[in-house]
């Protein structure tokens, strides 16, 4: 080996602890009286540490990345879990609310009875197209097709169709029940208030009672 690296070799062996006992004693003696040698040893030791620290730094960086990833996954799981719990609670609350509304509407639902009245000439007055729509709506409501019942009854409520069997308070009453079954309390309440405004209707008392319960 080339001689000009002899000092590096000797320091390396000293730092590794591979000098013989005699060599080590002699090296320590030299260190005591040679400050330049002390500096050389410190510099070489620092270089070796820096080589190891470079690799340690990479291991630490990698471990930090893993730890952050774990924290992010934990946060994500917690967020998803919280969201699922919140969604379930809202779902349960909404279903309970719907169920309560539906039960109330069912309690007040009574089939609409129409007794045909003869005209002055003794003939039975035939039902109009609007009456058919009304009865269809009631059939849908009874079946549980709330949305179809609402569409039909809203159509009748907003128009001036000629009707023989159905009356305005009857349309409003069954539409209010349909809204209630569908969980639309506000709309139902508004219609019930409209019914109450007409005191002679057969639905006025029922509307008052239902409003109180709402």
């Amino acid at each position: 080996m080339e001689d000009y690296t002899i000092l590096e070799q000797e320091i390396d062996r000293y730092l590794e602890g591979t000098l013989t006992v005699e060599e080590n004693e002699s090296f320590n003696e030299r260190l005591k009286c040679d400050p330049e040698l002390v500096k050389e040893v410190e510099l070489q030791r620092s270089i070796i540490r820096a080589v190891r620290n470079e690799r340690l730094g990479k291991i630490i960086e990698n471990e930090e990345r893993q730890l952050h990833k774990q924290v992010r996954i934990r946060q994500l799981v917690i967020s998803i879990g919280s969201f699922a719990v919140a969604a379930s609670l809202i779902g349960v609350f909404y279903l309970t609310y719907l169920n309560n509304c539906e039960k109330l509407a069912d309690r007040y639902y009574v089939a609409y009875t129409y007794t045909p009245l003869p005209s002055r000439g003794g003939e039975i007055v035939s039902l109009t197209r609007a009456d058919s729509m009304f009865f269809n709506a009631l059939v849908e409501l009874k079946k549980g097709s709330k949305k179809q019942a609402i569409t039909l009854l809203e159509n009748l409520d907003n128009s001036n169709y000629e009707m023989v069997a159905a009356t305005d308070p009857a349309i409003k009453w069954y539409l209010a029940l349909a809204y209630l079954k569908n969980g639309q309390k506000k709309k139902a309440r508004f219609l019930l208030q409209e019914i109450i405004k007409k005191p002679n209707s057969e639905f006025t008392e029922k509307a008052k009672k239902l409003l109180n319960e709402l």
Binding site: E8, E42, Q44, I47, A50, R52, N53, R55, E63, L67
Partner: protein, 186 residues
């Protein structure tokens, strides 16, 4: 399976990178929490202090200053002791008042004069920026603990002596480069 302190020292000594990472992670959060409670240190500095303390611990093991026979308490106490000392030095440097530290460990390493923090940074940068083949040779020698014969084979050197000469040339080159940059304290 839980590692004992002897297992951990051995894993660090053997440079088992997976286990070294796990040992680093093992005490990390506890140390950060511990130091946050005890010292008026900027939270951003605490992680850096832990990383420096972990490197000091590893180097003590690599340099045979700490081993399973001379460890008097636990590896954790040793690591925390080193970390607290670094934290105190950071506090002193920032001009913060220090309270008497009741934390004592029989393993607390002696403060080595060394070359100083600034010089260590310069040396670290020089090593990180080192070109090839020097970087690979020094990593093989001081991290992978390869023998000259293995380095010679892996790096296609003529023989063991050539590999050794190349390694010492690299150290010499680095030292020459650093002599002009580092400042020795008188």
């Amino acid at each position: 399976m839980e590692l004992t302190d002897v297992d951990k020292i051995l894993a660090i000594k053997k440079k088992n990178e997976f286990l070294v990472g796990k040992i680093y992670g093992l005490y990390r959060n506890e140390f950060l929490f511990f130091l946050k409670k005890r010292n008026s240190i900027n939270p951003d500095d605490i992680l850096e202090i832990y990383q420096d303390a972990f490197m000091v611990l590893c180097n003590k093991i690599y340099e045979n200053k700490l081993n399973a026979d001379n460890l008097k308490s636990s590896l954790k106490s040793y690591l925390f002791g080193v970390g607290i000392r670094i934290a105190y030095n950071v506090n002193r440097k920032n001009g913060n008042r220090l309270e008497q530290d009741p934390f004592e460990t029989p393993d607390m390493p002696d403060d080595e004069p060394g070359l100083g923090e600034e010089n260590e940074k310069i040396i670290q940068k020089a090593v990180n920026d080192m070109g090839e083949p020097c970087h690979t040779i020094l990593v093989k020698q001081y991290w992978e603990d390869k023998k000259a014969e293995e380095i010679a084979i892996e790096m296609n050197y003529k023989n063991t002596d050539t590999a050794k000469t190349q390694k010492y040339k690299c150290i010499q080159k680095l030292k020459n480069e650093l002599r002009n940059k580092i400042v020795y304290q008188s």
